[in-house]
Protein backbone atom coordinates (compact mmCIF):
# COMPACT_ATOMS: atom_id res chain seq x y z
CA UNK A 1 0.00 0.00 0.00
CA UNK A 2 1.24 3.44 -0.89
CA UNK A 3 1.86 5.76 2.02
CA UNK A 4 0.61 9.33 2.24
CA UNK A 5 3.35 11.94 2.28
CA UNK A 6 2.75 14.99 4.40
CA UNK A 7 4.24 18.33 3.46
CA UNK A 8 5.52 21.07 5.75
CA UNK A 9 2.16 22.84 5.48
CA UNK A 10 0.30 19.75 6.74
CA UNK A 11 2.56 19.48 9.75
CA UNK A 12 2.11 23.19 10.41
CA UNK A 13 -1.68 22.80 10.65
CA UNK A 14 -1.33 19.78 12.90
CA UNK A 15 1.07 21.57 15.22
CA UNK A 16 -1.14 24.68 15.42
CA UNK A 17 -4.03 22.43 16.41
CA UNK A 18 -2.00 20.78 19.18
CA UNK A 19 -0.92 24.18 20.47
CA UNK A 20 -4.50 25.52 20.57
CA UNK A 21 -5.79 22.38 22.29
CA UNK A 22 -3.12 22.61 24.96
CA UNK A 23 -3.63 26.38 25.16
CA UNK A 24 -7.30 25.90 26.03
CA UNK A 25 -6.32 23.58 28.87
CA UNK A 26 -3.74 26.11 30.06
CA UNK A 27 -6.20 29.02 29.92
CA UNK A 28 -8.78 27.08 31.90
CA UNK A 29 -6.49 25.85 34.67
CA UNK A 30 -7.23 28.97 36.77
CA UNK A 31 -10.89 28.06 37.00
CA UNK A 32 -10.33 24.65 38.54
CA UNK A 33 -10.58 25.35 42.25
CA UNK A 34 -12.76 22.54 43.55
CA UNK A 35 -13.58 18.96 42.63
CA UNK A 36 -16.91 20.27 41.35
CA UNK A 37 -15.06 22.47 38.84
CA UNK A 38 -12.84 19.61 37.78
CA UNK A 39 -15.50 16.92 37.37
CA UNK A 40 -18.64 18.91 36.56
CA UNK A 41 -17.33 22.22 35.16
CA UNK A 42 -18.95 23.85 38.19
CA UNK A 43 -22.29 23.24 36.40
CA UNK A 44 -21.87 26.36 34.32
CA UNK A 45 -21.69 25.28 30.66
CA UNK A 46 -24.07 27.02 28.21
CA UNK A 47 -26.51 24.73 26.38
CA UNK A 48 -24.98 25.05 22.90
CA UNK A 49 -21.51 24.12 24.16
CA UNK A 50 -22.83 21.20 26.22
CA UNK A 51 -24.89 20.08 23.22
CA UNK A 52 -21.99 20.04 20.78
CA UNK A 53 -19.78 18.33 23.36
CA UNK A 54 -22.58 15.79 23.88
CA UNK A 55 -22.18 14.48 20.34
CA UNK A 56 -18.49 15.22 19.99
CA UNK A 57 -17.59 13.03 22.96
CA UNK A 58 -19.27 10.23 21.04
CA UNK A 59 -17.51 11.22 17.80
CA UNK A 60 -14.43 9.12 18.44
CA UNK A 61 -12.94 6.17 16.62
CA UNK A 62 -16.23 4.30 16.78
CA UNK A 63 -18.01 7.00 14.86
CA UNK A 64 -15.55 8.16 12.25
CA UNK A 65 -13.69 5.00 11.32
CA UNK A 66 -16.32 2.50 12.43
CA UNK A 67 -19.29 4.22 10.78
CA UNK A 68 -17.39 4.71 7.51
CA UNK A 69 -16.42 1.04 7.68
CA UNK A 70 -20.06 0.10 8.24
CA UNK A 71 -21.12 2.42 5.41
CA UNK A 72 -18.87 0.44 3.10
CA UNK A 73 -19.90 -2.91 4.54
CA UNK A 74 -23.66 -2.36 4.93
CA UNK A 75 -24.45 0.76 2.90
CA UNK A 76 -27.12 3.30 3.86
CA UNK A 77 -28.62 0.88 6.41
CA UNK A 78 -25.89 2.16 8.72
CA UNK A 79 -27.97 5.34 9.01
CA UNK A 80 -30.30 3.42 11.32
CA UNK A 81 -27.73 4.09 14.04
CA UNK A 82 -28.76 7.74 13.67
CA UNK A 83 -32.31 8.12 12.43
CA UNK A 84 -33.80 5.13 14.22
CA UNK A 85 -31.28 4.79 17.04
CA UNK A 86 -29.89 8.05 18.30
CA UNK A 87 -32.73 10.47 17.50
CA UNK A 88 -35.61 9.01 19.55
CA UNK A 89 -33.22 8.17 22.39
CA UNK A 90 -31.80 11.70 22.49
CA UNK A 91 -35.27 13.20 22.51
CA UNK A 92 -36.26 10.84 25.32
CA UNK A 93 -33.28 11.62 27.52
CA UNK A 94 -33.79 15.36 27.02
CA UNK A 95 -37.51 15.41 27.67
CA UNK A 96 -38.02 12.67 30.22
CA UNK A 97 -34.80 11.76 31.96
CA UNK A 98 -32.84 14.98 32.30
CA UNK A 99 -35.23 16.40 34.92
CA UNK A 100 -34.20 13.54 37.24
CA UNK A 101 -30.52 13.44 36.36
CA UNK A 102 -30.06 17.17 36.70
CA UNK A 103 -32.75 17.79 39.31
CA UNK A 104 -31.40 15.17 41.71
CA UNK A 105 -28.03 16.97 41.75
CA UNK A 106 -26.37 13.59 41.29
CA UNK A 107 -22.78 14.04 40.16
CA UNK A 108 -22.75 10.94 37.99
CA UNK A 109 -25.06 8.29 36.59
CA UNK A 110 -23.94 5.73 39.20
CA UNK A 111 -24.65 8.32 41.90
CA UNK A 112 -28.21 8.66 40.62
CA UNK A 113 -28.54 4.90 41.06
CA UNK A 114 -27.31 5.25 44.63
CA UNK A 115 -29.91 7.96 45.36
CA UNK A 116 -32.74 6.07 43.67
CA UNK A 117 -31.83 2.55 44.78
CA UNK A 118 -28.87 1.67 46.95
CA UNK A 119 -25.15 1.31 47.32
CA UNK A 120 -24.74 -2.07 45.64
CA UNK A 121 -26.54 -1.00 42.46
CA UNK A 122 -24.28 2.03 42.24
CA UNK A 123 -21.21 -0.11 42.85
CA UNK A 124 -22.11 -2.59 40.12
CA UNK A 125 -22.75 0.19 37.62
CA UNK A 126 -19.70 2.24 38.61
CA UNK A 127 -17.30 -0.65 38.28
CA UNK A 128 -18.61 -1.99 34.97
CA UNK A 129 -18.74 1.54 33.60
CA UNK A 130 -15.17 2.33 34.66
CA UNK A 131 -13.91 -0.78 32.91
CA UNK A 132 -15.95 -0.02 29.81
CA UNK A 133 -14.70 3.55 29.43
CA UNK A 134 -11.08 2.52 29.70
CA UNK A 135 -11.75 -0.15 27.12
CA UNK A 136 -13.40 2.34 24.72
CA UNK A 137 -10.66 4.85 25.17
CA UNK A 138 -8.06 2.16 24.51
CA UNK A 139 -9.79 1.10 21.30
CA UNK A 140 -9.85 4.72 20.20
CA UNK A 141 -6.12 5.00 20.77
CA UNK A 142 -5.36 1.71 19.14
CA UNK A 143 -7.38 2.58 16.05
CA UNK A 144 -5.65 5.91 15.66
CA UNK A 145 -2.14 4.58 16.14
CA UNK A 146 -2.73 1.67 13.78
CA UNK A 147 -4.11 4.01 11.16
CA UNK A 148 -1.27 6.48 11.40
CA UNK A 149 1.20 3.64 11.18
CA UNK A 150 -0.46 2.28 8.08
CA UNK A 151 -1.09 5.45 6.13
CA UNK A 152 1.72 7.74 7.31
CA UNK A 153 4.32 5.28 8.46
CA UNK A 154 4.41 6.80 11.94
CA UNK A 155 5.53 4.61 14.78
CA UNK A 156 2.61 2.92 16.61
CA UNK A 157 4.18 3.57 20.00
CA UNK A 158 4.97 7.20 19.23
CA UNK A 159 1.36 7.90 18.15
CA UNK A 160 0.01 6.35 21.34
CA UNK A 161 2.36 8.39 23.49
CA UNK A 162 1.72 11.63 21.58
CA UNK A 163 -2.10 11.48 21.73
CA UNK A 164 -2.06 10.11 25.26
CA UNK A 165 0.16 12.92 26.55
CA UNK A 166 -1.80 15.71 24.84
CA UNK A 167 -5.16 14.47 26.12
CA UNK A 168 -3.65 13.93 29.55
CA UNK A 169 -2.26 17.46 29.74
CA UNK A 170 -5.38 19.30 28.71
CA UNK A 171 -7.69 17.32 30.99
CA UNK A 172 -5.22 17.47 33.86
CA UNK A 173 -5.08 21.26 33.59
CA UNK A 174 -8.67 22.20 32.90
CA UNK A 175 -10.72 19.16 33.90
CA UNK A 176 -14.12 18.57 32.34
CA UNK A 177 -14.40 22.15 31.07
CA UNK A 178 -11.21 21.71 29.10
CA UNK A 179 -12.45 18.40 27.67
CA UNK A 180 -15.81 19.95 26.75
CA UNK A 181 -14.29 23.08 25.18
CA UNK A 182 -11.91 20.98 23.15
CA UNK A 183 -14.72 18.67 22.13
CA UNK A 184 -16.59 21.60 20.62
CA UNK A 185 -13.46 22.74 18.79
CA UNK A 186 -12.94 19.16 17.62
CA UNK A 187 -16.53 18.99 16.45
CA UNK A 188 -16.06 21.97 14.13
CA UNK A 189 -12.75 20.57 12.91
CA UNK A 190 -14.31 17.23 12.09
CA UNK A 191 -17.14 18.86 10.15
CA UNK A 192 -14.98 21.36 8.28
CA UNK A 193 -12.17 18.85 7.76
CA UNK A 194 -14.27 16.04 6.28
CA UNK A 195 -16.78 18.07 4.32
CA UNK A 196 -14.43 18.87 1.38
CA UNK A 197 -13.63 15.17 1.16
CA UNK A 198 -17.29 14.24 0.85
CA UNK A 199 -18.00 17.04 -1.65
CA UNK A 200 -15.07 16.08 -3.88
CA UNK A 201 -15.88 12.39 -3.69
CA UNK A 202 -19.53 13.00 -4.57
CA UNK A 203 -18.64 15.30 -7.45
CA UNK A 204 -16.16 12.78 -8.81
CA UNK A 205 -18.51 9.82 -8.66
CA UNK A 206 -21.33 11.75 -10.37
CA UNK A 207 -23.47 12.77 -7.40
CA UNK A 208 -26.00 10.53 -5.64
CA UNK A 209 -27.03 9.11 -9.04
CA UNK A 210 -23.48 8.10 -9.85
CA UNK A 211 -22.98 6.63 -6.40
CA UNK A 212 -26.20 4.62 -6.66
CA UNK A 213 -25.07 3.21 -10.00
CA UNK A 214 -21.76 2.02 -8.54
CA UNK A 215 -23.36 0.64 -5.41
CA UNK A 216 -25.69 -1.44 -7.58
CA UNK A 217 -22.58 -3.28 -8.75
CA UNK A 218 -21.39 -3.67 -5.15
CA UNK A 219 -24.77 -5.11 -4.12
CA UNK A 220 -25.07 -7.45 -7.10
CA UNK A 221 -21.53 -8.73 -6.58
CA UNK A 222 -22.38 -9.52 -2.97
CA UNK A 223 -25.47 -11.45 -4.08
CA UNK A 224 -28.14 -8.93 -3.03
CA UNK A 225 -30.78 -6.95 -4.91
CA UNK A 226 -29.16 -4.01 -6.76
CA UNK A 227 -30.64 -1.43 -4.37
CA UNK A 228 -29.46 -3.11 -1.15
CA UNK A 229 -26.74 -0.51 -0.44
CA UNK A 230 -28.89 2.56 -1.08
CA UNK A 231 -32.19 1.66 0.61
CA UNK A 232 -32.41 1.65 4.37
CA UNK A 233 -35.75 -0.14 4.85
CA UNK A 234 -36.78 -1.72 1.56
CA UNK A 235 -34.86 -4.97 2.08
CA UNK A 236 -35.48 -5.44 5.79
CA UNK A 237 -38.38 -7.86 5.27
CA UNK A 238 -36.02 -10.79 5.82
CA UNK A 239 -32.49 -10.85 7.25
CA UNK A 240 -31.09 -12.60 4.19
CA UNK A 241 -32.13 -9.77 1.87
CA UNK A 242 -29.82 -7.08 3.23
CA UNK A 243 -26.09 -6.86 3.96
CA UNK A 244 -26.63 -6.13 7.66
CA UNK A 245 -28.38 -9.47 8.04
CA UNK A 246 -31.23 -8.15 10.18
CA UNK A 247 -35.01 -7.83 9.75
CA UNK A 248 -37.06 -4.76 10.69
CA UNK A 249 -38.14 -6.10 14.06
CA UNK A 250 -34.63 -6.82 15.33
CA UNK A 251 -33.54 -3.50 13.92
CA UNK A 252 -36.19 -1.43 15.68
CA UNK A 253 -36.19 -3.31 18.99
CA UNK A 254 -32.48 -4.13 19.13
CA UNK A 255 -30.82 -1.07 17.66
CA UNK A 256 -33.61 1.50 17.84
CA UNK A 257 -34.75 0.65 21.34
CA UNK A 258 -32.53 -1.49 23.58
CA UNK A 259 -29.14 -0.46 22.29
CA UNK A 260 -29.63 3.21 21.50
CA UNK A 261 -31.69 4.09 24.56
CA UNK A 262 -29.17 2.14 26.61
CA UNK A 263 -26.36 4.23 25.23
CA UNK A 264 -27.77 7.74 24.92
CA UNK A 265 -29.91 7.66 28.06
CA UNK A 266 -27.65 5.95 30.57
CA UNK A 267 -24.06 6.25 29.42
CA UNK A 268 -22.34 8.69 31.74
CA UNK A 269 -19.90 9.65 28.98
CA UNK A 270 -22.64 11.62 27.22
CA UNK A 271 -24.92 12.35 30.19
CA UNK A 272 -22.00 14.02 32.00
CA UNK A 273 -21.99 16.76 29.33
CA UNK A 274 -25.61 17.58 30.08
CA UNK A 275 -25.04 17.40 33.84
CA UNK A 276 -22.37 20.08 33.43
CA UNK A 277 -24.91 22.47 31.90
CA UNK A 278 -25.61 25.74 33.65
CA UNK A 279 -29.31 25.26 34.41
CA UNK A 280 -32.12 22.73 34.26
CA UNK A 281 -33.36 24.25 31.01
CA UNK A 282 -29.86 24.10 29.52
CA UNK A 283 -29.49 20.48 30.65
CA UNK A 284 -32.79 19.48 29.04
CA UNK A 285 -31.88 21.28 25.84
CA UNK A 286 -28.40 19.72 25.64
CA UNK A 287 -29.41 16.45 23.94
CA UNK A 288 -32.03 18.27 21.85
CA UNK A 289 -29.43 20.69 20.50
CA UNK A 290 -27.03 17.80 19.95
CA UNK A 291 -29.63 15.92 17.90
CA UNK A 292 -29.53 18.38 14.99
CA UNK A 293 -25.91 18.04 13.94
CA UNK A 294 -26.08 14.36 14.87
CA UNK A 295 -28.90 13.88 12.37
CA UNK A 296 -26.70 15.01 9.50
CA UNK A 297 -23.59 13.17 10.67
CA UNK A 298 -24.26 10.23 8.28
CA UNK A 299 -23.32 12.63 5.48
CA UNK A 300 -19.86 12.99 6.98
CA UNK A 301 -19.19 9.52 8.30
CA UNK A 302 -21.31 6.98 6.41
CA UNK A 303 -21.23 8.51 2.94
CA UNK A 304 -17.40 8.34 2.70
CA UNK A 305 -17.59 4.60 3.33
CA UNK A 306 -20.18 4.20 0.58
CA UNK A 307 -18.07 6.29 -1.79
CA UNK A 308 -15.00 4.23 -1.03
CA UNK A 309 -16.69 0.88 -1.60
CA UNK A 310 -18.34 2.18 -4.78
CA UNK A 311 -14.96 3.15 -6.16
CA UNK A 312 -13.42 -0.05 -4.92
CA UNK A 313 -15.94 -2.12 -6.85
CA UNK A 314 -15.53 -0.31 -10.11
CA UNK A 315 -11.91 0.84 -10.11
CA UNK A 316 -10.52 -2.09 -8.18
CA UNK A 317 -7.99 -1.84 -5.40
CA UNK A 318 -9.23 1.47 -4.03
CA UNK A 319 -9.26 -0.12 -0.59
CA UNK A 320 -6.38 -2.41 0.35
CA UNK A 321 -7.51 -6.04 0.49
CA UNK A 322 -6.62 -8.01 3.62
CA UNK A 323 -5.39 -11.58 3.85
CA UNK A 324 -8.99 -12.79 4.29
CA UNK A 325 -9.89 -11.49 0.82
CA UNK A 326 -12.14 -8.71 2.17
CA UNK A 327 -11.31 -5.05 1.61
CA UNK A 328 -10.06 -3.25 4.72
CA UNK A 329 -13.19 -1.22 5.45
CA UNK A 330 -11.53 0.74 8.23
CA UNK A 331 -9.36 2.49 5.67
CA UNK A 332 -12.25 4.08 3.79
CA UNK A 333 -11.65 7.59 5.13
CA UNK A 334 -7.83 7.60 5.04
CA UNK A 335 -7.87 6.29 1.46
CA UNK A 336 -10.26 9.02 0.39
CA UNK A 337 -8.09 11.61 2.14
CA UNK A 338 -5.07 10.41 0.23
CA UNK A 339 -6.95 10.21 -3.03
CA UNK A 340 -8.61 13.61 -3.15
CA UNK A 341 -6.83 16.04 -0.88
CA UNK A 342 -3.66 17.78 -1.96
CA UNK A 343 -1.11 18.85 0.62
CA UNK A 344 -2.65 21.65 2.66
CA UNK A 345 -6.18 20.35 2.85
CA UNK A 346 -4.68 16.94 3.57
CA UNK A 347 -3.23 18.40 6.75
CA UNK A 348 -6.69 19.69 7.68
CA UNK A 349 -8.27 16.29 7.03
CA UNK A 350 -5.63 14.59 9.12
CA UNK A 351 -6.08 17.12 11.91
CA UNK A 352 -9.80 16.37 11.83
CA UNK A 353 -9.05 12.67 12.16
CA UNK A 354 -6.75 13.36 15.12
CA UNK A 355 -9.42 15.60 16.64
CA UNK A 356 -12.03 12.86 16.44
CA UNK A 357 -9.84 10.38 18.24
CA UNK A 358 -8.91 12.85 20.90
CA UNK A 359 -12.49 13.92 21.59
CA UNK A 360 -13.55 10.30 21.98
CA UNK A 361 -10.66 9.55 24.25
CA UNK A 362 -11.07 12.68 26.37
CA UNK A 363 -14.77 11.92 26.78
CA UNK A 364 -13.93 8.51 28.18
CA UNK A 365 -11.16 9.76 30.41
CA UNK A 366 -13.27 12.51 32.00
CA UNK A 367 -16.14 10.09 32.60
CA UNK A 368 -13.70 7.59 34.07
CA UNK A 369 -11.99 9.97 36.47
CA UNK A 370 -15.33 11.22 37.79
CA UNK A 371 -16.82 7.78 38.37
CA UNK A 372 -13.59 6.53 39.85
CA UNK A 373 -13.24 9.46 42.25
CA UNK A 374 -16.85 9.96 43.35
CA UNK A 375 -18.36 6.52 43.02
CA UNK A 376 -15.49 4.22 43.81
CA UNK A 377 -12.81 6.08 45.76
CA UNK A 378 -15.01 8.41 47.82
CA UNK A 379 -17.52 5.63 48.47
CA UNK A 380 -15.44 2.54 49.13
CA UNK A 381 -11.85 3.53 49.64
CA UNK A 382 -11.60 6.80 51.56
CA UNK A 383 -14.81 8.64 52.34
CA UNK A 384 -14.96 11.87 54.32
CA UNK A 385 -11.80 13.56 53.04
CA UNK A 386 -11.48 17.24 52.12
CA UNK A 387 -12.50 18.46 48.68
CA UNK A 388 -8.86 19.22 47.96
CA UNK A 389 -8.03 15.60 48.53
CA UNK A 390 -10.62 14.44 45.99
CA UNK A 391 -9.43 17.00 43.48
CA UNK A 392 -5.95 15.51 43.78
CA UNK A 393 -7.39 12.01 43.41
CA UNK A 394 -9.13 13.23 40.24
CA UNK A 395 -5.81 14.37 38.85
CA UNK A 396 -4.22 11.03 39.66
CA UNK A 397 -7.22 9.18 38.20
CA UNK A 398 -6.74 11.09 34.95
CA UNK A 399 -3.17 9.80 34.70
CA UNK A 400 -4.20 6.28 35.67
CA UNK A 401 -7.12 6.36 33.20
CA UNK A 402 -4.78 7.26 30.35
CA UNK A 403 -2.27 4.60 31.35
CA UNK A 404 -5.02 1.98 31.53
CA UNK A 405 -6.23 3.05 28.08
CA UNK A 406 -2.74 2.53 26.74
CA UNK A 407 -2.76 -1.00 28.14
CA UNK A 408 -6.20 -1.57 26.58
CA UNK A 409 -4.93 -0.19 23.27
CA UNK A 410 -2.20 -2.81 23.14
CA UNK A 411 -4.69 -5.50 24.09
CA UNK A 412 -7.33 -4.60 21.50
CA UNK A 413 -6.20 -6.06 18.21
CA UNK A 414 -8.74 -8.67 17.20
CA UNK A 415 -11.76 -7.38 15.30
CA UNK A 416 -11.83 -6.33 11.63
CA UNK A 417 -14.54 -3.81 12.39
CA UNK A 418 -14.00 -1.81 15.58
CA UNK A 419 -17.65 -0.89 15.64
CA UNK A 420 -18.70 -4.47 16.23
CA UNK A 421 -16.59 -4.94 19.33
CA UNK A 422 -17.75 -1.68 20.87
CA UNK A 423 -21.39 -2.44 20.18
CA UNK A 424 -20.87 -5.84 21.76
CA UNK A 425 -19.55 -4.39 25.00
CA UNK A 426 -22.35 -1.83 25.05
CA UNK A 427 -24.95 -4.51 24.57
CA UNK A 428 -23.74 -6.46 27.64
CA UNK A 429 -23.48 -3.49 29.96
CA UNK A 430 -25.84 -0.84 28.60
CA UNK A 431 -28.58 -3.08 27.25
CA UNK A 432 -29.99 -4.07 30.64
CA UNK A 433 -29.26 -0.68 32.25
CA UNK A 434 -31.97 1.18 30.38
CA UNK A 435 -34.60 -1.23 31.75
CA UNK A 436 -33.43 -0.42 35.29
CA UNK A 437 -33.66 3.34 34.65
CA UNK A 438 -37.00 3.10 32.92
CA UNK A 439 -38.54 1.21 35.83
CA UNK A 440 -36.66 3.24 38.43
CA UNK A 441 -37.68 6.61 37.04
CA UNK A 442 -41.27 5.83 36.14
CA UNK A 443 -42.41 3.21 38.66
CA UNK A 444 -41.90 4.10 42.31
CA UNK A 445 -42.57 0.52 43.38
CA UNK A 446 -39.25 -0.62 41.85
CA UNK A 447 -37.13 -1.81 44.77
CA UNK A 448 -33.39 -1.62 45.31
CA UNK A 449 -32.88 -5.37 45.43
CA UNK A 450 -34.85 -5.74 42.21
CA UNK A 451 -32.71 -3.12 40.47
CA UNK A 452 -29.49 -4.81 41.50
CA UNK A 453 -30.45 -8.38 40.72
CA UNK A 454 -32.31 -7.36 37.58
CA UNK A 455 -29.21 -5.65 36.29
CA UNK A 456 -27.10 -8.66 37.10
CA UNK A 457 -29.57 -11.02 35.45
CA UNK A 458 -29.72 -8.82 32.35
CA UNK A 459 -25.95 -8.74 31.94
CA UNK A 460 -25.63 -12.48 32.57
CA UNK A 461 -28.48 -13.20 30.13
CA UNK A 462 -26.71 -11.11 27.49
CA UNK A 463 -23.49 -13.02 28.02
CA UNK A 464 -25.28 -16.38 27.88
CA UNK A 465 -27.12 -15.42 24.71
CA UNK A 466 -23.86 -14.33 23.16
CA UNK A 467 -22.26 -17.55 24.36
CA UNK A 468 -24.72 -19.90 22.71
CA UNK A 469 -25.25 -18.12 19.40
CA UNK A 470 -22.93 -17.33 16.54
CA UNK A 471 -22.86 -15.15 13.45
CA UNK A 472 -22.70 -17.02 10.14
CA UNK A 473 -19.23 -18.08 8.96
CA UNK A 474 -17.63 -17.41 12.34
CA UNK A 475 -15.78 -19.85 14.56
CA UNK A 476 -16.87 -20.08 18.21
CA UNK A 477 -14.77 -17.82 20.43
CA UNK A 478 -14.68 -14.09 20.87
CA UNK A 479 -17.24 -13.62 18.10
CA UNK A 480 -19.83 -15.67 19.97
CA UNK A 481 -20.63 -19.27 20.86
CA UNK A 482 -17.99 -19.40 23.59
CA UNK A 483 -20.17 -21.61 25.78
CA UNK A 484 -19.64 -24.54 23.43
CA UNK A 485 -23.09 -25.48 22.19
CA UNK A 486 -24.40 -23.22 19.42
CA UNK A 487 -28.17 -22.90 19.65
CA UNK A 488 -28.74 -20.39 16.87
CA UNK A 489 -26.80 -18.93 13.96
CA UNK A 490 -27.43 -15.29 13.01
CA UNK A 491 -26.84 -14.00 9.48
CA UNK A 492 -24.34 -11.36 10.70
CA UNK A 493 -22.43 -10.01 13.70
CA UNK A 494 -24.75 -6.99 13.75
CA UNK A 495 -27.82 -9.19 14.06
CA UNK A 496 -26.22 -11.09 16.92
CA UNK A 497 -25.39 -7.84 18.71
CA UNK A 498 -28.89 -6.41 18.27
CA UNK A 499 -30.51 -9.56 19.60
CA UNK A 500 -28.10 -9.72 22.52
CA UNK A 501 -29.27 -6.21 23.46
CA UNK A 502 -32.92 -7.27 23.17
CA UNK A 503 -32.31 -10.29 25.42
CA UNK A 504 -30.41 -8.13 27.94
CA UNK A 505 -33.13 -5.50 28.12
CA UNK A 506 -36.06 -7.89 28.28
CA UNK A 507 -34.57 -10.15 30.93
CA UNK A 508 -33.58 -7.18 33.08
CA UNK A 509 -36.99 -5.55 32.68
CA UNK A 510 -38.97 -8.68 33.54
CA UNK A 511 -36.76 -9.78 36.43
CA UNK A 512 -36.70 -6.28 37.96
CA UNK A 513 -40.49 -6.13 37.66
CA UNK A 514 -41.08 -9.52 39.26
CA UNK A 515 -38.48 -9.11 42.03
CA UNK A 516 -39.94 -5.67 42.87
CA UNK A 517 -43.31 -7.24 43.51
CA UNK A 518 -41.78 -9.75 45.92
CA UNK A 519 -39.44 -7.44 47.83
CA UNK A 520 -40.02 -4.54 50.21
CA UNK A 521 -39.40 -0.94 49.28
CA UNK A 522 -36.46 0.52 51.19
CA UNK A 523 -37.04 4.14 50.19
CA UNK A 524 -40.05 6.18 51.23
CA UNK A 525 -41.97 8.44 48.87
CA UNK A 526 -40.26 11.39 50.51
CA UNK A 527 -36.80 10.06 49.76
CA UNK A 528 -37.75 9.48 46.13
CA UNK A 529 -38.94 13.02 45.50
CA UNK A 530 -37.04 14.41 42.51
CA UNK A 531 -35.95 10.92 41.51
CA UNK A 532 -39.19 9.33 40.30
CA UNK A 533 -41.62 10.73 37.75
CA UNK A 534 -44.84 10.46 39.76
CA UNK A 535 -43.27 12.10 42.84
CA UNK A 536 -41.62 15.02 41.07
CA UNK A 537 -43.30 18.29 40.14
CA UNK A 538 -43.49 18.71 36.32
CA UNK A 539 -41.22 21.17 34.61
CA UNK A 540 -43.42 24.02 33.50
CA UNK A 541 -42.46 25.53 30.17
CA UNK A 542 -45.55 27.68 29.92
CA UNK A 543 -43.48 30.83 30.37
CA UNK A 544 -41.32 29.98 27.34
CA UNK A 545 -42.27 30.87 23.78
CA UNK A 546 -43.69 27.73 22.16
CA UNK A 547 -40.79 27.37 19.72
CA UNK A 548 -38.26 27.42 22.57
CA UNK A 549 -39.93 24.63 24.52
CA UNK A 550 -38.05 21.34 24.71
CA UNK A 551 -41.20 19.47 23.64
CA UNK A 552 -41.44 21.45 20.41
CA UNK A 553 -37.77 20.81 19.69
CA UNK A 554 -38.20 17.11 20.40
CA UNK A 555 -41.22 16.71 18.14
CA UNK A 556 -39.44 18.57 15.33
CA UNK A 557 -36.43 16.28 15.63
CA UNK A 558 -38.64 13.21 15.36
CA UNK A 559 -40.48 14.59 12.33
CA UNK A 560 -37.29 15.44 10.44
CA UNK A 561 -35.79 12.02 11.28
CA UNK A 562 -38.92 10.36 9.94
CA UNK A 563 -38.62 12.36 6.72
CA UNK A 564 -34.98 11.29 6.34
CA UNK A 565 -36.05 7.66 6.77
CA UNK A 566 -38.62 8.07 4.03
CA UNK A 567 -36.20 9.77 1.63
CA UNK A 568 -33.72 6.90 1.90
CA UNK A 569 -36.36 4.19 2.20
Amino acid sequence: MERIHLGAIDYTLLIIYFVVVLGIGWALRRFVKSSDDFFLSGRSIPAWIAGLAFISANLGAQEVIGMAASGAKYGIMTSHFYWVGAMPAMVFVGLFMMPFYYGSRARSVPEYLKLRFDEKTRGLNAITFAIMTVFSSGISMYALAKLLELVLGWSFHASIILTGVIVLVYIFLGGLTSAIYNEVLQFFLIVLGFLPLVLLGLKDIGGWEGLTAKLRIVATNAGFEPGAWTHSWQYTGAPTHNPMGIEWFGLIMGLGFAMSFGYWCTDFLVVQRAMAAGSMTAARRTPLIAAWPKMFMPLLVILPGMLAIGMHATQGGFLPVGSDGHPNYNLAIPMLLAHYLPTGLLGLGLTALMASFMSGMAGNVTAFNTVWTYDIYQTYIRPGQTDRHYLRVGHIATVVGILASVVAAYAATRFNNINDILQLVFSFVNGPLFATFLLGMFWKRTTSHAAFYGLLIGTVAAAIHYGVTLPRDAVPGIKGGFLGAVAHVYPSEMALNFWTAIVAWTSCFLSTLVISLFTKRTKTDDELRGLVYSLTPRQSDAAMAWYKRPVTLGVLILIVSAILNVIFW
Binding site: I9, T12, L13, I16, Y17, V20, G23, I24, A27, L28, F31, S41, G42, S44, I45, I49, T177, Y181, V184, L185, F188, L189, L192, P196, L200, K203, D204, H339, Y340, L341, P342, T343, G344, L345, L348
Partner: protein, 67 residues
Protein backbone atom coordinates in the same frame (compact mmCIF):
# COMPACT_ATOMS: atom_id res chain seq x y z
CA UNK B 1 -16.56 30.85 33.04
CA UNK B 2 -14.57 33.74 31.70
CA UNK B 3 -12.97 32.14 28.66
CA UNK B 4 -15.26 32.64 25.69
CA UNK B 5 -14.93 29.48 23.62
CA UNK B 6 -15.63 31.38 20.42
CA UNK B 7 -12.24 33.08 20.71
CA UNK B 8 -9.96 30.03 20.48
CA UNK B 9 -12.22 28.48 17.83
CA UNK B 10 -12.19 31.72 15.81
CA UNK B 11 -8.45 32.02 16.22
CA UNK B 12 -7.72 28.47 15.09
CA UNK B 13 -9.93 28.58 12.02
CA UNK B 14 -8.83 32.08 10.97
CA UNK B 15 -5.22 30.94 11.19
CA UNK B 16 -5.97 27.76 9.26
CA UNK B 17 -7.88 29.82 6.68
CA UNK B 18 -5.07 32.33 6.14
CA UNK B 19 -2.45 29.59 5.81
CA UNK B 20 -4.52 27.63 3.29
CA UNK B 21 -5.47 30.71 1.24
CA UNK B 22 -1.85 31.87 1.01
CA UNK B 23 -0.70 28.38 0.18
CA UNK B 24 -3.47 28.06 -2.39
CA UNK B 25 -2.23 31.24 -4.09
CA UNK B 26 1.43 30.28 -4.23
CA UNK B 27 1.24 26.51 -4.74
CA UNK B 28 1.88 24.75 -8.04
CA UNK B 29 -1.49 24.17 -9.72
CA UNK B 30 -0.37 20.66 -10.74
CA UNK B 31 -1.11 19.39 -7.23
CA UNK B 32 -4.81 20.09 -7.78
CA UNK B 33 -5.10 17.39 -10.42
CA UNK B 34 -6.14 14.99 -7.64
CA UNK B 35 -8.81 17.37 -6.34
CA UNK B 36 -10.54 17.41 -9.76
CA UNK B 37 -8.70 20.52 -10.92
CA UNK B 38 -10.18 22.69 -8.14
CA UNK B 39 -7.80 24.80 -6.05
CA UNK B 40 -9.31 23.42 -2.85
CA UNK B 41 -6.73 25.03 -0.60
CA UNK B 42 -7.74 28.49 -1.77
CA UNK B 43 -11.50 27.94 -1.73
CA UNK B 44 -11.78 25.89 1.42
CA UNK B 45 -9.28 28.24 3.07
CA UNK B 46 -11.72 31.08 2.41
CA UNK B 47 -14.55 29.05 3.95
CA UNK B 48 -12.48 28.41 7.07
CA UNK B 49 -11.45 32.06 7.25
CA UNK B 50 -15.05 33.22 7.00
CA UNK B 51 -16.08 30.79 9.75
CA UNK B 52 -13.14 31.79 11.95
CA UNK B 53 -13.77 35.50 11.57
CA UNK B 54 -17.47 35.09 12.33
CA UNK B 55 -16.61 33.29 15.56
CA UNK B 56 -14.04 35.94 16.47
CA UNK B 57 -16.48 38.73 15.69
CA UNK B 58 -19.19 37.41 18.03
CA UNK B 59 -16.66 36.39 20.68
CA UNK B 60 -15.04 39.83 20.75
CA UNK B 61 -18.38 41.60 20.64
CA UNK B 62 -19.56 39.66 23.68
CA UNK B 63 -16.36 40.31 25.62
CA UNK B 64 -16.61 44.04 24.89
CA UNK B 65 -20.14 44.32 26.22
CA UNK B 66 -19.11 42.36 29.31
CA UNK B 67 -16.31 44.72 30.29
Amino acid sequence: MSLDLRLPIGLLFSLFGVILVVYGLVSDTAIYAQSLGINVNLWWGLVLLAFGLTMLFFGLKASRTRT
